[in-house]
């Protein structure tokens, strides 16, 4: 399954160009189970891609991690979730040399969260490459209580913090690594449209 093609949308909605080779560059790679396939594909088109790559694999089974280890990266580390990945990625970024590339592959939640950390640490946008694979679930910020709800697949959805019913906007903040959720029944409390699955 290749890089997901999303419907055309507004300017702030991120698009993901896919992982492209940067031969010889040191790399930090962060992927989930679905995203691991994009890393594998990168390794097949650029034989030098893995030698200087530190791979952080988020919430993926042992066979996925074994498959990536077989590509002989500089290191491969498996962590249970994004919260656990965060301090590891922060440390890798703080130690990164000039020219280091950040490769992100998998869900929008993973790419949004990790790229926000990288931008905050001073990494340039052009040194971050992203490829969407797997679930189209979104990482949403509630504009009212500011809480993040991860893995949102329906519109509207319930904020996991304040409980308001929010509609899913395409407006996206790179700094927060999240889409914006706005109260759907603000003007007419209780008048909530039918729930639909999010489409790409």
């Amino acid at each position: 399954m290749p890089n997901t093609v999303f419907s055309p949308s507004i300017e702030s909605r991120p698009t993901y160009a896919g992982l492209a080779p940067r031969p010889g560059a040191p790399a930090i790679m962060v992927a989930d189970e679905a995203g691991a396939a994009a890393v594998t594909h990168l390794a097949t088109v650029d034989a030098t891609a893995m030698a200087k790559a530190h791979v952080v694999l988020v919430g993926a089974p042992a066979e996925t991690s074994d498959a990536l280890a077989a590509l002989s990266p500089a290191a491969v580390q498996t962590v249970p979730d994004l919260d656990t990945a965060t301090p590891i990625v922060e440390q890798l970024l703080s130690q990164a040399r000039m020219g280091t590339q950040l490769f992100l592959a998998g869900s929008e939640g993973l790419m949004g969260h990790i790229s926000a950390i990288a931008l905050a640490s001073g990494m340039a946008l052009e040194d971050i490459q992203m490829e969407h694979r797997g679930s189209i679930a979104r990482r949403m910020q509630c504009v009212h209580c500011k809480g993040i709800t991860d893995g949102v697949t329906t519109d509207p959805f319930t904020c996991s913090h304040c409980g308001l019913t929010l509609f899913v906007r395409d407006h996206f903040s790179r700094r927060l690594g999240a889409f914006q959720g706005v109260c759907v029944d603000a003007e007419t409390p209780g008048d909530i449209p039918a729930t639909e699955e999010i489409r790409p």
Partner: protein
């Protein structure tokens, strides 16, 4: 002549009122009987004496009450004011621009005495008398942008220029037309305007960005933008949409005249000297339909503009649900007579 400041509120009991003088100087945004997006940029300051275009930063009868409202909003949500770390110098630039301008334009109200970096600022309407060291944030109770914008009407965005784009990297935003600084801070010009319908395809933003990037030191410009707001509420933020949203559905043919407000933004642009950032003040003016129809030209014209506007724009500007009631009300004030060009009322 000393200015009188209103004791009024922009929430709760909504006691906000315009005096007859405030109505006559209202920055009515329509220079013809129809409306579509345009870049509509003019030099600033510059306009008839007494108009809100006369000075760099207009101070009017709502000043003290607006600052009190900002204080309430900030106490409830401090994220309405944010400045990314590299923007402090731009904050000092803005503080200087505002203090120098206000002390020059309103000597009865403000004074600034400078001896090198030792500055003495007096703001009489707000009862502030402060000595501080310019460029030393430790000598002010807030960062420089927050300090001066707690004393200046209007929202403020500070835009950092890099990579051929403008980045909204700092701001004070408590009287916005439904956008979130906390969400948009750090975005570039096209990203923070992304939710505006149609304008990108029309090339409006490409033209506007080109223009803004070319604004040089000492050049200042303005444009007017507008929307509609139910009740004279400054804080129409997305953050509090679930609190003010229900008010939008309280319009009836009986109350529309005093509850429905035309909300005009006087947007100005200033290139800042040390940081090379652009300051982008967005000053909000509110007038009820009843206020506006006291000027026959405005009553006729507003009726025609709102009657004929593109439905997508009515929706984006958030008054589609009340449009029919508004237009019906205004039709009483449109006798079909022609209107004169320009935004100012007829004498």
């Amino acid at each position: 002549m000393t200015m009188q400041f209103n004791d009024e509120t922009f929430r709760g009991d909504y006691t906000y009122r315009n005096s007859p003088e405030a109505i006559r100087r209202f920055p009515f945004p329509f220079d013809q009987d129809s409306y579509m997006y345009s870049v509509n940029i003019e030099q600033h300051p510059g306009g008839p004496q007494g108009s809100p275009f006369e000075h760099m930063f207009d101070v009017d009868e709502h000043y003290v009450a607006e600052m009190r409202d900002r204080e309430i909003t900030l106490a409830e949500d401090p994220l309405r004011c944010q400045s990314l770390p590299h923007m402090e110098l731009a904050g000092w630039d803005l503080l200087e621009l505002i203090m120098v301008s206000k002390a020059r334009d309103y000597p009865d109200l403000f004074s600034l005495t400078r001896d090198g970096n030792d500055w003495h600022w007096v703001n009489k309407p707000m009862g502030i008398d402060k000595r501080f060291t310019f460029l030393d944030a430790a000598t002010l109770p807030y960062g420089p942008m927050e300090y001066i914008t707690r004393q200046t009407q209007g929202d403020f965005a500070l835009l950092h220029e890099r990579d051929g784009n403008l980045w909204m990297d700092a701001g004070m935003v408590t009287s916005q037309a439904d956008w979130s600084l906390d969400f948009d801070v750090g975005m570039n010009f096209f990203e923070w305007h992304a939710p505006v319908p149609k304008a990108r395809q029309m090339g409006v933003f490409d033209k506007a960005l080109k223009f803004l990037l070319a604004v040089g030191q000492g050049q200042h410009y303005r444009r007017l933008n507008w929307t509609m707001t139910v009740n004279p509420r400054l804080d129409t933020s997305p953050e509090n949409y679930h609190k003010w949203g229900p008010e939008k559905r309280t319009i009836t043919p009986e109350n529309v005249g005093h509850k429905q407000f035309l909300r005009v933004e006087l947007q100005t642009f200033f290139r800042l000297p040390r940081s090379n950032a652009l300051a982008f003040p967005i000053r909000c003016y509110l007038a009820s339909l009843d206020d506006l129809v006291t000027q026959p030209k405005w009553g006729r014209r507003l009726h025609r503009v709102l009657r004929d506007i593109d439905p997508d724009l009515a929706d984006y500007k958030g008054f589609a649900v009340n449009r029919e009631v508004i237009v019906n009300y205004l039709s009483q004030y449109d006798d079909g007579e022609p209107t004169s060009p320009g935004i100012f009322p007829e004498d």
